[in-house]
Assembly symmetry: C2
Homo-oligomer: 262 residues x 2
């Protein structure tokens, strides 16, 4: 089974894909932008959706709304940056390469050793560029891919760094407990969001995620991306949907099993 994902080889998305698709004997195909992934002929994709430090991935919800896709799963990955090098000890390192976010997340270690920093477009790219007296901050998988020594694991300042990935048009599960949907109300009116959320709470459905996004029609005009802790095939979801449709257009993007936090 082929899967489209953000490259190069050794990204955290690649690591998440290895975990999610390990039972399917999958073949990854790497793309350099998110739009390329959505435009690809490969049906199945895995994309980074939100991070515990940075929040949502810019523009991703707009793509989920605009493109014809089904969300079939999610995967949560702890982001543990490794210090990867061709050198075998810390003393030889003078310069460290990585994505600006990873450099910021590992500030203590970098300052402690007084290393020079070089920015790269991705952590995986940084790992591919490591030269003598250098190290990269990247995934353990990037170390394996480029044959680098792991001089440190989980070297970031804060430990609560996890990313949630969504699987698009992947294999369907039979037991689903989560549903993603887009609600696009026709016009703004007082208490609208409260009425919408009442359709869920009235049927005892909990929401795990809600984001508002501009409709691009005019400033102040929003649509909502919501994740509800229920299967769309359930009776309660059917009733909630019946209520919701009295307030807003409803577009279900898919039901899937919720990922366990590692």
């Amino acid at each position: 089974m082929e899967v489209a994902l953000l490259g190069p080889e050794g990204t955290y998305t690649h690591q998440a894909a290895d975990q999610y698709f390990s039972d399917y004997g999958y073949t990854p195909t790497f793309y350099s932008t998110i739009t390329d992934i959505f435009d690809s002929d490969i049906e199945t994709a895995i994309i980074a959706f939100e991070n515990s430090l940075g929040g949502g991935v810019e523009g991703m919800i707009d793509l989920l709304r605009e493109r014809y896709i089904t969300i079939t799963g999610e995967q949560i990955l702890e982001i543990d940056h490794c210090l990867l090098s061709r050198e075998s000890d810390f003393e030889a390192i003078e310069r460290v390469r990585s994505h600006p976010q990873a450099l910021t997340q590992c500030k203590s270690l970098i300052q402690e050793h007084g290393w020079e920093t070089v920015e790269a477009s991705s952590t995986a790219k940084a790992a591919s560029e490591v030269g003598a007296n250098e190290a990269a901050l990247a995934s353990p998988l990037a170390g394996t891919v480029h044959g680098l020594n792991v001089l440190g694991e989980g070297v970031q300042d804060t430990k609560s760094n996890a990313t949630r990935f969504l699987i698009l048009n992947g294999p369907m599960d039979e037991e689903n407990d989560k549903t993603s949907l887009i609600l696009d109300p026709p016009e703004d009116r007082p208490g609208q969001l409260h009425s919408i959320l009442g359709s869920f709470s009235g049927h005892e459905i909990n929401l795990s995620y809600i984001q508002s996004r501009p409709t691009k029609r005019e400033l102040g005009d929003y649509y909502f991306y919501i994740e509800a802790e229920i299967d769309q095939e359930s009776e309660a979801f059917g009733k909630a949907r019946q209520c919701l449709e009295t307030y807003t257009a409803v577009d279900v993007l898919g039901s899937y099993p919720s990922a366990n936090h590692p």
Copy 2:
């Protein structure tokens, strides 16, 4: 009065500042990053907050929550890109410089003329770099600042492009009809957001904006930035706040007059 804002001279923020502070005889001080503005010794600042096409400005809500600031106003600016050049007609243009977002927003014009594109870190920077046979897509103010000819106004593909700016620690108004607040619930529980929103709708207060952001404590743990259409000094807001405090920590960031959409 001194005001800190994102530079260089001629940015859309600069144009919004000219409009908002025109009665105060203000002096702009330009910074190259948002963090530099928040770290500046200058008390008053104006920052881009949300755009009708792109949504919220990445990371801004986190800064509003973490720093000690008061929101004292807002300003809405229609983003009309001008085609600016040292040349005096379209035929002489071969290359167009701008921020990647502006280049995307003016795709039709660029494709029609088959112009080469060069990316810049801001529209104002692009205007400062225009050479022979070149044009920049930037604000009318950037044209004035750099003495360029305006070969076209409002040349973007879609007309619904507006940006909302917030004024921080500025002059206070006496008549306020909008209040920004941060709600940080102690733990997630079913129907929590519905209860919170019920505190507003129960006191007939409409919300004009709501965003959830990760608390950085753990994945799935969010706080909310809300704009309510009411003054914090009103009786209804006092009652709503009393309800809210039974569910969540409440931090009012300020009351101010809502901006008219131009």
